[in-house]
Symmetry: C2
């Protein structure tokens, strides 16, 4: 498919819809309709991409779009989809990391997953070209359509089944959500001593660079990695009045030491 083949509508006007719509139009692809329960947010999006129209109508039976993106919160998708009507043989793509492909099957027999592996914020530009797009589809021709589109928007396109996608999401929770929690605890410890968290910026960045350059299993440093029990004991003493941090310290140190 050429770019001109695509005639895209988006259900949703949240953060993901916003960044997706901008990636689509900046590649010269066409947005037809943007649906949102809130007409105001749909309007804002349509104005910012300078094309397409908003709608609050859930009946798309007569739409000319051949691709519909479902960019709604995970818990909303299975419920709200029942109220929508799509043209026959249209390709329906959801954008969720956790929902299986099968949530779409009653809404359209041609369906797929188009999951950009990234967290989005309003007002913060992202380089969509660098975002891995995880794809899955109900059939070969749908996969081709989704995959061609993905390659227009990103340099990194992966075929990932629903089953594998579950583990990918779990792995992202460990690498991103849980790391961020450790940053919160770290900032807490520093705040008590009136040391700015910024002091760790360079070291954290270097940790991430190394983990992806040489593999995190080769980059592990610190007292637990060198089995430095004296420092571990000193640290647990510093944490004695904070059971949450102490428990996390012990568990992750044991994990690094291989005694978990």
């Amino acid at each position: 498919m050429e770019k001109s083949w695509y005639n895209i509508s988006i259900i949703g006007a949240g953060k993901l819809a916003w960044h997706l719509a901008h990636a689509i139009t900046s590649e010269g692809l066409r947005i037809n309709k943007v649906y949102s329960r809130s007409e105001a947010s749909a309007n804002k999006l349509v104005q910012s991409i300078k094309q397409g129209n908003t709608t609050t109508d859930k009946d798309f039976t007569n739409s000319t779009s051949n691709i519909f993106f479902i960019a709604l919160p995970d818990d909303v998708v299975p419920i709200i989809l029942k109220d929508f009507h799509f043209p026959e043989n249209t390709l329906l793509l959801h954008t969720s990391g956790t929902l299986p492909l099968s949530v779409l099957k009653d809404a359209s027999k041609k369906n797929g997953v188009f999951y950009p592996l990234q967290t989005f914020s309003f007002g913060k530009e992202v380089d969509f070209k660098k975002i891995p797009i995880c794809l899955e589809a109900s059939d070969e021709s749908s996969l081709t359509k989704a995959s061609n589109l993905a390659k227009f928007l990103s340099n990194e396109v992966h075929l990932i089944s629903s089953e594998k996608r579950k583990f990918l999401h779990l792995a992202a929770v460990f690498a991103c959500n849980f790391s961020n929690r450790l940053f919160v605890l770290s900032k807490d410890i520093l705040a008590q001593e009136e040391i700015p968290f910024q002091i760790l910026s360079n070291l954290v960045n270097e940790t991430v660079v190394k983990a992806f350059e040489i593999g995190p299993e080769n980059a592990q440093t610190g007292p637990a990695a060198r089995n430095d029990l004296k420092t571990i004991e000193a640290h647990t003493k510093l944490l004695r009045d904070n059971s949450e941090k102490l428990e996390i310290y012990k568990l992750l140190s044991d994990s690094i030491r291989g005694i978990k």
Copy 2:
């Protein structure tokens, strides 16, 4: 003090000594002697900075150096220092994140800590200007000497007492060593599904950027942050055969949910 005042010797020729010596000479400051138990590694360092001489002699009583850096492993410093002799009134600086200032007091009454908050590797260039230098000293004039020197080498100089430095090191363990462990576990989960760890590179980098831009406490996302018990349950099921990852998943999710 002008740059020309400094006449620096370094005890140690390991990774930290290597990067410190290069930072010193590239700022036009003078290295006099490099001591190492292994003459070969001292030679290699001296050749690479193209100045100074190596020594294996522990008696520096007649040295012309006015600053000595102790860049040795933490556990070695208190033991080995007893064998050294330094000129009277010379400034002795150790470079450790965990050792107190007091380990130096018997070796020289003028002493201080000059702790670059970074992990160093051989063969990997670092921008020393961006590394926070944590300083402490026995007296005002020693602090001035150390601080002037630190400002020649880095744009980020902090005064941190031994007591505060303990907490800084602990905070770095949470933010860096423990995050790296989570990367290892994450890579493990992906490897079982034959998904390359590289797929998370962009997302992890974005997590770190956000944590330092808006504060990690404002950047927390994921199932635990939105109290999405359904996803948490699905994840714990995926981990049911791995007690280590399961325990870490539960503890960090509880921590994010504020029920720890």
